[in-house]
């Protein structure tokens, strides 16, 4: 039996006066749970591999934290990436990676679960493993080490981190963490038979937990993958993603974590649905989270009521991949606006759909005075490129929508685009300028004032696994940068209009590295390790990210495999090529994905299967799931105002 685990806080406390924002390391949030270590059987350390201010609001971690802690014999605590100032002090003073809840060392837990919303957290995982005293390579770990488990969207291709993790879960985590807990509980109660290998085997046999060490990758002489096959008879050839059906049965977070430190989102966020079938071809989230599963209007209303009472937040976010698409979004917005009128609670809907309906909703939500910004995402500058990416919006739609916003009193709208899309030319990007000019011209006319603005925000396109663009070549960073520069000049070519247009963009270089990590295979693991050894940390932060370090590390470790950075990024793949993630099943039929890729090249638009017949993407039949949408016909009832202090009994 392992000894009871004690807090490292007394040692940590000595270091905190010497670091910036020490509050992020002390825990004590509302909603935080501290349990008796010895009274529990299975213990999880959950990590969001970025700074506390980014990681704490993460919905995935909060949901799993609550689901796990609701189990009596299970303990879940959280850990985040520590900034380099504390990392150095921890190393100097022998303080290990700790959880913020009870400051227990991560190494003492049964599972070290890391949620990768983006691949840019990989180097932070290595820092955490090192600080925790857990061997970096899965192969070097023993019975005393936790199972290092990856989740989040990036785990749909965990091959670049295959050497460092023990297992990965694809898809929704609510039920998966309970099943994993059950397997570990049973194995521990039996006295840990067969050691770590046996436990990993039991996990792998579920057919929905991927254990990289049980699969061998063979390569062709030209560097491409020949095949990925199990190296033992009792694990499946393909590992399937998990899908939580009936979101009303999983109304989390019920008790959201409310931090003392300032974080990027200070709001009660409720997912109003999961999945999206709009079919934007660049969007990995939309592809891997199918089918659409709505949470009902009444559950959403109840969650918000209880979530606000519990947390004291004054802001509510209605989250999903395309919130205006909820079958009862109109009633939901007007019902919530009525319920919270005059309460100083502000409601927001991340608005990306380009149509006037969105403005009606935003109007409704701003009833109690506060007007949140409007963001529209046409994504592509030209009609042609929008057909390529299946973003079905015409220029007329966009102008009309934005003009409606200005007419209704908005003075500022944000337009979101991507650069570097497949088949993109300079002209496609320059059309963004024309569009922005027209928006300002029409807006000034409609609003009757010169005092309106729009912000053009441009992100770099990164081809992602399990999307129709998984075969596409990335554009070179210098081409992206040149186009962005050209666009800027074009926007400012008319000074009168250009003055009213804000312009925000990212350089092409970080996108290229994200592309390497997104579509990389196991050989990329050596690059990640090298970058980390050279000091790479916090790659999602421009002040910490070093393109030169990544390029240099690629040049050092990839030649031994006969490949290079370009091979992983700017190279177009052929239909027959075995992709590193082919053995990981998102439910999408690879032939359908290929067809959709071909359709994009002929600019064929694919409508949404919620309102048109099924187009056979493969997800529902292969995952045994179905579209779950309303309307339920129910309405939100008025809330009874609280007139007395909430004094604890």
């Amino acid at each position: 039996m392992p000894m009871s685990v004690s807090s490292v806080f007394p040692q940590l406390e000595q270091l905190l006066p010497r670091v910036s924002k020490p509050i992020q390391y002390v825990g004590g949030e509302l909603g935080a749970v501290v349990k008796d270590w010895d009274a529990t059987t299975v213990r999880w350390a959950l990590m969001y591999p970025d700074a506390y201010e980014v990681g704490l609001p993460n919905q995935g971690v909060q949901i799993l934290y609550e689901v796990l802690n609701e189990q009596e014999d299970v303990l879940a605590e959280r850990t985040y990436a520590v900034w380099p100032d504390l990392e150095a002090l921890m190393k100097e003073n022998g303080v290990p990676q700790f959880t913020v809840d009870a400051h227990r060392p991560v190494k003492a837990f049964d599972v070290f679960g890391i949620s990768f919303a983006t691949e840019l957290g990989y180097t932070n995982m290595l820092s955490a493993l090192e600080l925790a005293g857990i061997p970096l390579n899965s192969a070097d770990r023993g019975l005393d080490d936790p199972i290092v488990l990856a989740g989040g969207h990036a785990s749909f291709n965990p091959e670049p981190i295959a050497d460092f993790i023990d297992a990965a879960v694809l898809g929704d985590g609510e039920e998966a963490v309970l099943e994993i807990t059950g397997i570990i509980r049973e194995w521990k109660e039996e006295g840990s038979p067969g050691g770590r290998d046996e436990l990993l085997l039991r996990l792998a046999r579920t057919e929905s937990i991927y254990v990289p060490r049980f699969y061998d990758v063979d390569y062709l002489p030209d560097g491409r993958i020949q095949r990925v096959v199990p190296n033992r008879p009792d694990v499946p050839f393909r590992v399937a993603k998990r899908t939580t059906m009936d979101l009303d049965a999983w109304p989390y977070p019920k008790k959201p974590l409310v931090p003392l430190a300032e974080t990027v989102h200070e709001r009660y966020a409720v997912e109003i649905f999961r999945g999206c079938t709009r079919g934007c071809r660049f969007c990995q989230a939309g592809m891997i989270t199918r089918p659409v599963r709505e949470r009902s209007i009444t559950t959403v209303g109840q969650m918000i009521k209880e979530g606000l009472e519990y947390s004291g937040f004054s802001e509510v976010g209605l989250l999903s991949l395309s919130s205006a698409d909820h079958s009862e979004i109109g009633d939901m917005c007007s019902g919530l606006a009525e319920q919270y009128e005059g309460t100083n609670v502000s409601l927001s809907l991340p608005s990306t759909r380009v149509d006037a309906f969105n403005i009606d909703l935003a109007q409704e939500l701003s009833k109690n005075g506060r007007r949140t910004g409007l963001t529209f995402a046409p994504e592509g500058g030209s009609e042609r490129i929008r057909k390529v990416i299946n973003k079905m919006v015409t220029k007329e739609d966009l102008i009309r929508t934005v003009v409606t916003a200005y007419t209704n009193g908005w003075r500022q709208v944000k337009l979101y685009f991507m650069c570097g899309l497949p088949t993109e030319t300079d002209e496609d990007v320059l059309e963004i300028a024309q569009m922005a000019h027209e928006v300002i011209r029409a807006g000034r006319e409609a609003a009757g004032t010169k005092d309106i603005r729009c912000t053009v925000s441009i992100g770099g396109f990164v081809p992602k696994p399990h999307t129709p663009f998984q075969w596409a070549a990335m554009e070179r960073p210098e081409v992206i940068d040149a186009r962005l520069k050209m666009l800027k000049q074009e926007i400012n070519s008319d000074r009168g209009l250009g003055r009213a247009i804000g312009y925000r963009y990212h350089d092409g270089e970080p996108s290229l590295i994200e592309g390497l990590l997104s579509r990389g295979d196991r050989r990329v693991g050596a690059v990640i390790r090298r970058v980390w050894e050279k000091g790479g940390r916090f790659d999602g932060w421009s002040e910490h990210f070093s393109y030169a370090r990544w390029v240099e590390s690629c040049a050092e470790v990839l030649p031994q495999f006969g490949v290079d950075l370009d091979w992983f990024t700017t190279r177009e793949r052929e239909q027959a090529e075995v992709l590193p993630w082919d053995h990981l099943d998102s439910g999408l039929d690879k032939d359908w994905l290929w067809q959709d890729w071909q359709d994009s090249l002929t600019e064929y638009e694919q409508p949404d299967c919620r309102w048109t017949p099924c187009f056979d993407c493969g997800v529902c039949p292969s995952m045994d799931t179905e579209i779950q949408i309303g309307p339920t016909g129910k309405k939100l009832l008025p809330l009874t105002p609280v007139n007395s202090l909430r004094v604890p009994a």
């Binding site: 000595q14 905190l16 509050i23 409310v258 003392l260 004291g312 937040f313 609280v642 202090l645 909430r646």
Partner: protein, 257 residues
């Protein structure tokens, strides 16, 4: 009061009651910065359903005013604030409700209906306890003696205006090594010197870490591990050197007879 221009129609409900609150920042939560506390307190008001009043204007703010807050990382048993309410509440119930709504470690100790006069006018000094682990009380004693023997001890600190030099001596009305200090013994080799300190509120503010700098300047005292500092009281400094809780005056007004 005359009508104010550019106000939203309707306006905010007026303040009908003011309540003064004493709270503590304890244990790990002493690392809460003042901004962090302010955000947490506003949320606690909502969680506890406190009928807080809001300022007028396009972005109404809850009516909260703070007395000088202890620095981040310093614990406190005596922080003060005042809130304006749009409905009367029982201060005892308010204390319970707010205390339950804040994280353990941010503890609401007292709540009193405000009488006449301002809170700030009743605060001109603080008393502090400085724990110096691994410092021999005898060594601390010598440093304190050297410090008190001087009329002026210049120390430096980074301020918003850049590095400044100022006197840390004059504001100190009392400094002594506590008899609760841990003297190293054979059984326990780790000593811990405890310094009791009373500092008047002056400009620029002299903080406990400035006095520690002063001890270094005056006697070369260099604690090997970061000292643990707690504010024990804030209020009016009497001629006898006692600090009077600023809420006492309100309690007296509130009591009949």
């Amino acid at each position: 009061m005359g009508a104010t221009k550019n106000q939203p129609v309707g306006g905010q409900a007026p303040v009908v009651q003011r309540v003064r609150i004493r709270y503590a920042k304890r244990g790990p939560l002493r690392f809460t910065s003042h901004r962090d506390f302010a955000r947490a307190f506003e949320r606690a008001l909502r969680r506890a359903a406190v009928p807080i009043a809001f300022s007028q204007g396009f972005t109404p703010h809850p009516k909260i005013s703070y007395a000088s807050a202890a620095p981040t990382g310093v614990g406190s048993e005596a922080e003060y604030l005042e809130i304006g309410l749009q409905a009367e509440v029982d201060p005892g119930q308010l204390r319970l409700a707010l205390d339950a709504a804040l994280s353990p470690g941010l503890d609401v100790l007292d709540a009193v209906v405000a009488g006449p006069g301002s809170l700030a006018d009743r605060i001109d000094a603080s008393s502090w306890r400085l724990e110096l682990p691994a410092v021999d009380p005898a060594e601390a004693e010598a440093a304190v003696k050297a410090f008190t023997a001087l009329d002026e001890v210049l120390v430096e600190r980074m301020t918003k205006q850049g590095r400044r030099s100022f006197d840390a001596r004059q504001a100190v009305t009392h400094i002594s090594v506590s008899d609760q200090s841990v003297v190293p013994s054979e059984a326990d080799g780790t000593p811990c010197a405890i310094i009791d300190l009373v500092v008047r509120q002056v400009t620029p503010a002299v903080r406990p870490d400035d006095v520690l700098s002063g001890l270094r300047v005056a006697a070369g005292l260099e604690p090997p591990v970061p000292p643990r500092v707690t504010r024990l009281a804030q209020g009016t400094l009497t001629a006898q050197g006692e600090i009077v809780d600023p809420l006492d005056a309100d309690r007296e007004t509130a009591l009949p007879g």
